[in-house]
Amino acid sequence: MAKYIAGRILLIAPTLVAVILVIFFILNITPGDTATIILGPSATPEEIAILEHDLKLDRPFFVRFLSYLGDVLRLDFGRSYRNNLPVFDEIFAKFPITLKLALFSVLASMLIGIPVGVISAVRRFSFIDYSLTVAALFMASVPAFFLGLALILIFCLGLGVLPSSGLGAVTSYILPVVTLALPSSALLARMTRASMLETMRQDYIRTAKAKGAGKTRIIFKHALKPALLPVVVVLGSNFAAQLGGSVIVETVFGLPGLGSHILRAIRMKDTPVIMAVAILLAVIFKLVMLLVDVIQVNIDPRLRGRFVKREV
């Protein structure tokens, strides 16, 4: 198992190089205007040429790509074009806010989505199932920014119980977390329902029924664990997606996290910051997916068998 994990961590490297290449390529589709954005519209062509030379922007694409790759290997991510500070100092100052948002919202979406999905599956084609299905599809159809605005309208302006923007007390996290959690809990509920129904069709469930196991016992003892296998994958990718998707929610609620940081960087075409955030998020994505696989192996004895064989 340890060998497997080490191997997977090593495999992150080629993906990272490819991620860097993709983002680097996208940011270089239209070269040349980076210096103009930094210096402003009043800059003379000479000033732009000097700055482009300083930032090595006048070199060919692959030379810049390789030199950036070399910098990254030495863990040097460069300085922000905006304020000339090392990019990672700022990113690490903003990251905890976004990390908290993503963690809490994944937790909340689990607590809502999984029970809802199980109830839907167990009471299939009942009134409850139909209502929960329509409710889940409705929540999955509300864009985060509109949900955020609606929550502000109800809880801040209507009831006046929660702060609408900025970062003060713990309560200022409630609405952003709910905004992120509700749509993903809806998807999670759909996923859990489908997976649960699929599991209930398996032969071992029929065996359990034939042996006279009660319905509750079948659901919780036999069906829930294997049914949660694909759900764990969704949870993992949701967490990673919410780290990146925090852009919208942080904009609505005025939170100074990684999301608003990326947005500002992108507006200014602040390449070093965009690259560093993309690398950070890609590494986290890969690690979370590895964690998902490890969790799956621990849930599912069928998968565990594979590793035991390999070690022998």
């Binding site: 993906t15 920014f145 502000i152 994505f285």
Partner: protein
């Protein structure tokens, strides 16, 4: 005689059978009806309200009016009729939803099908690229594309399409993988049918149900992604009546004139919900395990 004719078993096509089961699903039918209404509104938006005078031209004297008979959704801060703007906004959203999903499906589908069909090095390379792009959060990817390409309809469509390609590559690959392993494909290959002919005549028709379901479910996602980019000012720019862009300054009006926020927002929700209901109903109707 009459009885015998009635009891003769009918040969039902997959289409007829799917439709029969879909039409029993009230939520899915509601979704389908709304999809049709929204499509008609988008097609005939110019008859509902003139673009130049109603949607773009400002009327300072009529600003921020509450909904009334004359302005069913009220007016915005420039005095423009919100109903006219929401109706014209449907054009943008359907364009993103349908065109971008189709494009992403065509490109991603071709890649995924090729990966599954040919296997080996082709599959390894295609899936490595798809995996790489999936590592970058979709929002970050489309934001970076928009930052570079600049705002505008065409660029937003490119960015929105691009974000959907890896998902479809993966989905269609797994769909095709399931079919390629079937015996009838082996039979076709053994009979010397060419690759292209096998793909189009034997693989695609058997995949079409799952492809339609994934298409419908994805439309809602593309619509919401496009409106989110416009909302933060990286997509369609005002004064164009894109639903997300209409909410950009929403916080200013939330306290005093919530109708400015509610109508465009609900337009997104209803459109996305209609496609989601339809897609969910289709996936149940096409599920072979539920067939009687």
């Amino acid at each position: 005689m009459e009885l015998a004719r009635k009891s003769r078993p009918k040969a039902r096509t997959l289409l007829a059978e799917t439709w029969q089961r879909l039409s029993k699903n009230k939520a899915a039918m509601a979704g389908l009806i709304f999809v049709i209404i929204i499509t008609l509104l988008a097609l005939f938006a110019d008859i509902v309200a003139d673009y130049g005078t109603k949607v773009i031209q400002t009327h300072p004297l009529e600003r921020l009016q509450r909904p009334s008979l004359q302005h069913p959704f009220g007016t915005d801060d420039m005095g423009r009729d919100l109903f006219a703007r929401v109706v014209h906004g449907a054009r943008y959203s359907l364009a993103f939803g349908i065109v971008c999903t189709l494009a992403a499906m065509a490109i991603g589908g071709a890649l995924g099908a090729a990966a599954a069909f040919f296997g080996g090095a082709v599959e390894a390379v295609i899936m490595f690229i798809a995996d790489t792009i999936s590592c970058i959060p979709g929002t970050l990817l489309s934001l970076s594309l928009m930052a570079v390409l600049g705002p505008g309809l065409k660029n937003l469509m490119i960015a929105i399409t691009f974000g959907g390609i890896p998902i479809f590559t993966r989905i269609i690959r797994s769909i095709v993988l399931g079919i390629v392993r079937q015996e009838y494909i082996e039979a076709a290959r053994a009979a010397g049918v060419s690759n292209l002919r096998t793909i189009f005549l034997h693989v695609l028709p058997n995949a079409i149900g799952l492809i339609i379901v994934n298409f419908t479910m994805n439309v809602a996602g593309r619509i919401m992604a496009a409106s989110a980019l416009s909302y933060i000012g990286m997509g369609i720019q005002p004064p164009a009546p894109e639903w997300g862009a209409m909410l950009t300054d929403a916080l200013k009006f939330l306290r005093t004139d919530p109708h400015v926020v509610i109508f465009p927002g609900m337009a997104i929700v209803i459109t996305a919900l209609s496609f989601n209901l339809l897609g969910d109903g289709l996936s149940e109707a096409l599920d072979p395990r539920l067939r009687d």
